[in-house]
């Protein structure tokens, strides 16, 4: 990219480490070389995190063995590991870790896109009511003692219904602005939260109630390769769509009228993004229950590294979200004898981190207006 006036010529600071280099570039124009380097660094970090997570657990497996087990699928390696180790890595931990990574990526992508769309850095995937709707769907399926497949289907169905409700409420006033959308989201969330409470009240306290409560707290326990597909497919379709709309999200973050005056079809692009996000949120809820805070916090960290431009923010958020989720899930399954529900852990970590972010932005300001 031949752009004049490059404030920070990358070639002038060759001694900086890669991350510091990327950080140093953050405020300036898109420098594709450094941005690609940053993505490569994050990918390497993600792979390392996943390998570390695969070797960690109640059944300890050496790091090198994990690499060998995985590598044996690509190249021929001498088989010096036990069959049980291979099973633990490939059948127990890998699907779970992949689901965690994909959910982290999807939730963070949704959070970053929603924050841009709603022009508000305090927005998370819960804001449009889809999480509550999807959670209610899952809870209903559990109450009716349906299989996992139905839990996913119900989650997605009620998640979509929640989006329709939110849109319906926001449009009933004749307006289609962001504020009415937020209010619609609040109403929808509250509505489904009360329905969930009702289901809990009617559930069998010895059987379905504990399952519901535990499911709602979120967990990647019992994740299978089918679950990997449940999240991967929405991420590859809806997620790619959202990333492709990165420039439009930049413009939408300036506000409706300005976006309109800049030639953007505001309504169409907004609903397209919201629908894609609904698909991803519903998919994550269906495999893991409600995992809060990730979509709210991760984009803030990503923004610190990349700046506000969604062209960089969205992919970087996904990587950081993946790494964060895999790490938190590793803690969830190893920190105590029993498993800590991941939703509880992300909230426990999320609240203080968010308080720190608030403190930091209070000092600096999101903008100087």
């Amino acid at each position: 990219m031949n752009l004049k006036n490059t404030v920070n010529n990358p070639t002038s600071k060759p001694k900086l480490s890669l991350l510091a280099f990327a950080l140093n570039q953050q405020r300036y124009k898109i420098n594709f070389t450094s941005f690609n380097a940053l993505l490569a660094l994050l990918l390497a970090l993600l792979i390392m995190t996943i390998t570390f997570a695969l070797s960690t657990g109640r059944y300890d497996i050496e790091f090198i063995k994990v690499i060998k087990i995985l590598g044996s699928h690509i190249v021929d390696l001498p088989n010096d590991w036990k069959i049980v180790e291979q099973r633990v890595v490939e059948l127990v931990r890998l699907p779970r870790i992949l689901v965690a990574a994909l959910c982290g990526a999807a939730l963070s992508l949704c959070g970053a896109a929603l924050q841009g769309l709603f022009r508000n850095p305090l927005v998370g995937p819960q804001i449009i009511g889809v999480s509550s709707g999807a959670a209610f769907g899952g809870v209903m399926a559990i109450l009716l003692m349906l299989t996992d497949y139905w839990i996913s289907l119900f989650s997605f169905g009620f998640g979509s219904l929640a989006l329709l409700l939110t849109l319906g409420i926001s449009r009933s006033g004749g307006g289609s602005n962001i504020l009415s959308l937020v209010l619609g989201g609040i109403v929808t969330s509250a509505f489904f939260a009360s329905l969930i409470a009702l289901v809990k009240y009617t559930a069998d306290p010895d059987d379905t109630l504990p399952t519901i409560v535990y499911w709602l707290m979120g967990s990647f326990n019992e994740s299978s390769y089918t679950d990997v597909l449940y999240v991967l497919i929405p991420l590859l379709t809806a997620g790619v769509l959202v990333i492709r709309m990165r420039f439009i999200i930049n413009i939408l973050s300036l506000g409706e009228e300005e976006a309109h005056s800049l030639g953007v079809n505001v309504d169409r692009s907004r609903w397209m993004i919201l629908l894609s996000i609904t698909l991803m949120i519903a998919a994550t809820v269906s495999v893991s229950g409600i995992v809060g805070w990730v979509g709210l916090i991760v984009p803030h960290f990503a923004r610190m590294i990349t700046g506000a431009n969604h062209a960089r923010l969205l992919p970087v958020s996904m990587f950081i979200g993946s790494i964060y989720m895999v790490l938190v899930d590793t803690v969830a399954r190893t920190a105590s004898y029993g498993e800590i529900p991941i939703g509880v852990l992300t909230a426990l970590l999320g609240a203080p981190i968010f308080a720190w972010l608030l403190y930091r932005t209070q000092l600096r300001g999101w903008s100087n207006d």
Partner: protein
């Protein structure tokens, strides 16, 4: 370039019109100033010209691209000046478009035109009001418009920056663009505009050449305050006489 006939606007659930009966036309290289008290519907008129709001009656015909410079922009996110400017390329190429190399080149060209290229890598939110206005003008230039519409571009600026914006408006007109801007300062209209539209709520708007329309009588009637126009200074001035 742009021809507006008898347009009116009222909100869907409201019976009273925000404005009605506006007529004006503007040719290439001409500047139109819209003057009117607060609440007279200047901004609404601009939004209808941009088709952000639909007109209730009348017709708006214009040839060529229309571009808009808002009074201010408040994004909660900290875009750089170049990122902000290149958004002027907008959704021209569809929902999935991203700015291409030529968009960045046009963006830098536009920034250079308004003297802001050296700020390209700076944060937009850290600029002064005048600098921001210049960046917003550059952003509007990126799409290479034929008509530029500016909503009160000088209202939050000091005299130096007001002058800078007005000079930029003149230059844009010299380059063949039709420029429409709203202002609360009749003197600016007198010095920059060829045509003037006076709008007042519930009254027929008045349109004509700047020197004819900007009389003490019409302005006094418009603002309900004595406005003097004096020919004796080295250049003509128009000033309010506060009570």
């Amino acid at each position: 370039m742009i021809e507006v006939k008898n347009i009116s606007f009222c909100y869907p659930n409201s019976k009273s019109a925000i404005f009605e009966g506006h007529n004006f036309s503007l040719k290439k290289s001409q500047v139109l100033a819209i003057l009117g008290p607060n609440g007279s519907g200047k901004t609404t008129l601009i939004k209808t010209l941009l088709k952000i709001l639909p007109i209730s009656t009348g017709t708006i015909q214009h040839s060529g691209r229309c571009s808009y410079v808002p009074q201010y922009t408040a994004s909660p996110f900290d875009y750089t000046v170049r990122e902000m400017t290149v958004m002027g390329a907008g959704g021209q190429h569809g929902m999935f478009s991203t700015p291409q190399k030529q968009d960045y080149l046009r963006c830098d060209e536009a920034l250079e035109k308004v003297g802001m290229l050296s700020f390209a890598a700076k944060s937009f939110t850290q600029l002064s009001g005048g600098q921001r206005q210049m960046v917003l003008i550059a952003r509007a230039l990126v799409s290479n418009p034929d008509i530029m519409i500016l909503d009160e571009p000088t209202s939050a600026l000091d005299y130096y920056n007001q002058n800078k914006v007005l000079q930029t408006i003149k230059e844009l007109a010299n380059q063949g663009k039709a420029v429409i801007f709203s202002t609360h300062c009749p003197l600016q209209a007198l010095q920059v505009a060829d045509q003037v539209l006076l709008v007042k709520k519930d009254q027929q708007s008045i349109f004509g050449s700047a020197s004819e329309i900007l009389t003490s009588r019409l302005l006094t009637d418009l603002y309900q305050l004595h406005i003097a126009r004096d020919h004796s200074f080295p250049r003509e001035i128009i000033a309010p006489i506060y009570d």
